[in-house]
């Protein structure tokens, strides 16, 4: 089971996570945070916990925990 914690207020909407995800689990939402950046949403069901979105995130908004 994969649990993704996403701090939308830290996000700056660069969407590096969207293009880095090999399973296309990260998608822009069309909604904006308090700073005016477009935030993303995660599909935890298809996530394989490869850590690509975490690795590309410049703003430390993503934490991933996978438990078997």
């Amino acid at each position: 089971m994969v649990k993704i914690t996403y701090d939308a207020e830290r996000c700056k909407g660069c969407h590096y996570c969207v293009s880095a995800c090999p399973k296309k689990c990260v998608t822009p939402t069309g909604e904006f945070n308090a700073k005016g950046y477009e935030i993303v949403k995660f599909n935890e069901a298809d996530c394989i916990a490869c850590g690509s979105c975490y690795t590309m995130c410049p703003d430390y908004a993503i934490t991933i925990v996978k438990e078997d």
Binding site: K12, H15, M56, T63, I64, D68
Partner: protein, 248 residues
């Protein structure tokens, strides 16, 4: 029960944003540096010497020892500290403007003396915080606020490549990584790990240049800035390990 976790290093936890622009490479570079430090168990026994400008943003985004000296003097300030506290992991963190323009004499002389410190340079091919002026690493043809028609060899000279600059230097380690993609970030992390290990083993000067995007000053979206790195910047600045001296 097996658990796999991707979580930011403790040194960066619980603080506000580092204040860098959307899509800036500084955040990724700083995170992999502190990931390596945490893996080495040196979180509370390391000190970062930041330069001014965008490089100093990270000073307020990490909890432990950090110091910001005069502009362009991150490397000599780190040198002085390392000489008095050789037990600590000491590294400088500066941009390409500070390292190859304002602090060029220190970049060369520290390598000549083979000081036992690590210098990490974030190269985004312009002066970021002051408004995107041309830096020594700006590419030929690159439009910046101080070269609006594009950099030319005749007027501005050729860009400086630290790998060529250090060709004959007797230093412990020299590598160049990038933060444009997951594979390159992982390779860069490995370069930083090797550089820090060499310092802690007392082997001499280690230098890691990290190519980073600067979407704000390149006038691009974050995605376009990664494409520019792959299509233009990597052609001029080759990635890899260039000097790796075996232990003395």
């Amino acid at each position: 029960m097996a658990t796999k976790t991707f979580k930011i290093p403790e040194a960066l936890e619980g603080l506000g944003s580092h204040g860098c622009c959307q899509g800036c490479g500084h955040g990724i570079a700083a995170r992999i540096i502190y990931e390596v430090i945490e893996e080495m168990g040196l979180t509370k026994n390391c000190i970062a010497f930041h330069d001014l400008a965008c490089g100093s943003n990270m000073l307020y985004a990490q909890k432990y020892h950090g110091f910001s000296g005069a502009h362009g003097r991150a490397i000599p300030t780190a040198t002085g500290f390392k000489r008095t506290r050789p037990d600590m992991l000491v590294f400088s963190y500066a941009g390409d403007g500070a390292t190859y323009s304002i602090g060029m004499q220190h970049t060369v002389h520290t390598a000549m003396r083979d000081e036992n410190i690590t210098a990490i340079v974030i190269n985004n091919t312009n002066f970021g915080m002051t408004g995107g002026q041309m830096s020594p690493t700006s590419l030929i043809g690159q439009k910046t606020t101080s070269s609006p028609a594009g950099r030319t060899k005749e007027l501005n000279g050729n860009p400086v490549d630290v790998v060529k600059l250090y060709t004959d230097m007797d230093i412990a380690y020299l590598a160049r990584g990038a933060v444009d993609s997951v594979p390159n970030i992982n390779k860069t992390k490995n370069y930083i790990r090797k550089a820090f290990a060499k310092q802690m083993a007392g082997e001499g000067f280690s230098f890691v240049e990290i190519l980073a995007p600067c979407p704000t000053n390149w006038g691009m979206t974050p995605a376009q800035s990664l494409e520019r790195m792959q299509n233009e910047v990597f052609k001029k600045y080759e990635l890899g390990e260039f000097i790796e001296r075996s232990a003395k």
